[in-house]
Amino acid sequence: MKPRQRFKLGKVLAHVCLISIVVLVLIPFLMVTIASLRKGQFPPSALWLNPDQLSLEHWKFVLGIPYRELVNAATGETRMIQASPSPLLWLWNSIVVSSCSSLGIILLSGSAAYAFARMPFKFRGSVLRGLLILQMFPAVLSLVAYYVLLDYIGEHFRFIGLNTISGLVAIYLAGISVNIWMIKGYFDTVPASMEESARIDGASRFQTFVRILLPISAPIFAVVFILSFIYTMSEYPVASVVLQTSDTWTLAVGANSFLYEQEKLWGRFSALAVLAGVPITVIFLLCQKFLVSGMTSGGVKE
């Protein structure tokens, strides 16, 4: 009987442990949701809401719907408020930036990884290692150089200069080396024999790459896409320097703009955080299985 009791006790302990951690994880999310529905600009701190505190003003603001706000309680004076530009635009910008850069990253790093995995050429190892080491230079500290570079390019090609979304995407596209390593790691696990027999049957290299290797490697591309998407969605410093006017801002820059030092608009921030956080979180959770297998097979593998 004794080992059985110990077994049961262990189970209970495990559940208690897990539940308390889950609660700690969930509380901040609950608080933000409540702060977004609460009248006035309060930082997320309450776990419950009295019905008289309930207000949809922050959600209206974030969704770009005009609403009346009481300016002076004594005189009953109100004013119309409408966000300009609507924070939805920032979400849209973020989605455009993240999709374009993740797609571009897949194309660039996938084709480069193919060369590294399947083709012999001079300095292959050194280039591969060099890419990883050079990428360690933190992007934040390249900001001065990014600024100079985009300013210069923008003088001649307006569409890719400072304060353009394409300029930001161009910078993000350069972050390929870690992804090259991940994809190459996956390619290495795919036996080359199939491609070789296709080559004997007369297929060109490019054909074997596109028709044989790419379809097999779909999972790793999904992983790289999602990881890049999350990274670019959250990236703040580079975006805040490149994008200068509020109509080009991404979500990260826009969300931070609600929290100035002098006036912290917690309600609006919370509504935006919920609005933007929920879809990304759902996508991530849906792709969870993919991600776990991809991260463990590509990056760290014995």
């Binding site: 969930l26 701190s45 360690m136 500290l141 900001l143 350069a174 969300a255 912290k264 959770l285 990056g299």
Partner: protein, 506 residues
């Protein structure tokens, strides 16, 4: 097929190149031309086949990773700060714009407002009232002129006729602050004389103050003094060694690096921040790994129910964009109104000063980073644990071992070594974890006597502040620290590759 594609892309690129050349970008056009040449060769020559797959990626990498790196190393060797912002050429051109009142030409003026909002300037010579000059339409915005423009030409007009537009009273010119803008401009009469606003009432003829001599020195035409550029100081100095005008960027050699090592105002904060950066990265990796591994082991327990629900909920912090969660925590840890302290006070526990006490702020950063960082570790550890064969546990269970012993004696030694590269990568990531510190504390609270340095600054945020904070920007010094930072993290990455070298077949 391939040839047609290459030809089309090359043509499009050449067209872009032409546009760039047309708009005056000789260098950018040249660089693009070289790229087009390389690209065409690579995509046509059978010998360069491997590079066909590498070319686009490597071009982007070169432009946005290698160029910024080289640029930063270059800037770290120059004196480039708030006192030395301009290039030598720009500083020189500022001198050439300086003028002084000379001669006795004096003119009354009138501003004429046009229907489209622009203005005409009308000058009338005091000595000879029949001589009048008129400008082209001017865009005068209230307030000082944003940029210095070259002198605009005035043309002489015939006697008698009145130019179009409504003349402004002096009061209107001052009230709308148009004189501020007008004061920053200069005009050139048909005979070549420069004129500028003198006081509020009149224009006077002016003359360039400095004359550039062939040896690079400048002569002051009013008092005859001579200043010459001192490339070492980055200033123009007169005969007595006194600085004149603005400083310019200049080559400084290793000065910035020596400053980090020797100047007590920089060296003190630098080393404290360096130690905290190391501590922060080590503790973050250790904490995240410990918690992540613990949860992974728990969730690997087959008999436990609801394992999938737990796992999904526990991954949440990784799924939510980090920028949002960091800002949420900024609210939760607010010293007076934050939820954390309200909760602690409700329990009659000690409520730390998360914002003003250095150790409180550090603890907050570490706690938040633990929350953000453990899910990734948990995911990786879960993957690792699944590769451990379950037979070894059965064998040890026969020997009467318990789960805790099993973990430390069997599981950890098995999975730890393959995890080392991931731990080092995580260390390097946290070493440069800019977003967390910048958004959560912005480096605060300020370090006593440390100038711009804060108690929770990491090297990367400290460098960012040095380069971009409004007062006392010092790009040179910031670039020097950035270069050092890169050396540290680059070494870590290199070590990581060496450790993992056995399993990478190249």
């Amino acid at each position: 097929m391939r040839h047609v594609l290459v030809a089309l892309v090359t043509l499009a690129a050449l067209y872009l190149d032409f546009i760039a050349y047309e708009s005056g970008g000789t260098w950018i056009a040249l660089a693009l031309l070289v790229l087009i040449g390389c690209g065409t060769y690579i995509y046509l020559s059978p010998r360069a086949e491997a590079y066909r797959y590498l070319f686009p990626g490597l071009v982007g990498f070169g432009l946005f990773v290698i160029f910024p790196l080289l640029y930063t190393v270059f800037v770290s060797l120059t004196r480039y700060s708030s006192g030395h912002l301009l290039t030598y050429e720009r500083a020189l051109s500022l001198f050439s714009q300086e003028t002084f009142v000379s001669g006795n030409g004096s003119y009354n003026y009138q501003l004429l407002r046009q229907s489209d909002g622009s203005f005409l300037l009308l000058l009338q010579a005091n000595q000879n009232p029949s001589q009048r000059f008129l400008s082209e339409p001017l865009e005068l915005k209230p307030g000082p002129a944003a940029t210095s423009t070259p002198p605009a030409r005035l043309r002489e007009i015939a006697e008698g006729g009145t130019p179009p537009g409504q003349p402004l009273e002096l009061a209107q010119i001052t009230r709308e602050k148009l004189y501020l803008n007008l004061r920053d401009r200069q005009f050139r009469l048909p005979d070549g004389t420069l004129v500028g606003l003198e006081g509020l009432q009149k224009f006077a003829s002016r003359q360039q103050l400095w004359r550039l001599n062939p040896d690079g020195s400048l002569t002051n035409l009013r008092d005859g003094s001579v200043v010459r550029p001192d490339l070492k100081q980055g200033y123009f100095v007169d005969q007595k060694g006194k600085r004149v005008g603005v400083g310019f960027r200049t080559f400084a050699g290793l000065e910035n690096y020596i400053q980090i090592m020797a100047d007590p105002r920089i060296q003190g904060p630098f080393f404290r921040i360096f130690v905290w950066t190391l501590l922060f990265s080590a503790l973050s990796v250790f904490g995240g790994f410990a918690l992540g591994m613990f949860l992974a082991v728990l969730l690997n327990w087959k008999e436990l129910r609801f394992r999938n629900i737990y796992r999904t909920l526990l991954i949440l912090p990784y799924a939510v964009p980090a920028v949002l969660s960091i800002l949420i925590f900024k609210g939760l840890y607010n010293q007076e109104f934050g939820a954390v302290n309200e909760f602690l006070r409700a329990l009659h526990l000690f409520a730390p000063d998360w914002e003003t006490n250095p150790w409180g702020a550090r603890a907050m950063i570490l706690l938040v980073n633990l929350w953000l960082g453990y899910p990734y570790m948990m995911l990786v550890c879960t993957g690792m644990l699944q590769s451990v064969p379950s037979t070894i546990y059965e064998a040890s269970a026969l020997d009467g071992s318990n789960p805790v012993n099993d973990f430390f004696n069997l599981t950890l030694p098995l999975v730890f070594r393959p995890l080392v590269p991931m731990l080092i990568a995580s260390f390097a990531f946290n070493f440069n974890n800019f977003t967390l510190v910048y958004l959560l504390t912005a480096g605060g609270p300020r370090m006593m006597g440390g100038g711009i340095a804060g108690e929770t600054d990491l090297l990367v945020t400290y460098t960012f502040n040095l380069a971009f904070r409004d007062s006392g920007t010092n790009y040179g010094l910031a670039s020097a620290i950035a270069t050092l930072l890169f050396c540290i993290v680059g070494t870590l990455a290199w070590m990581n590759l060496r450790l993992g070298a056995s399993k990478i077949q190249l």
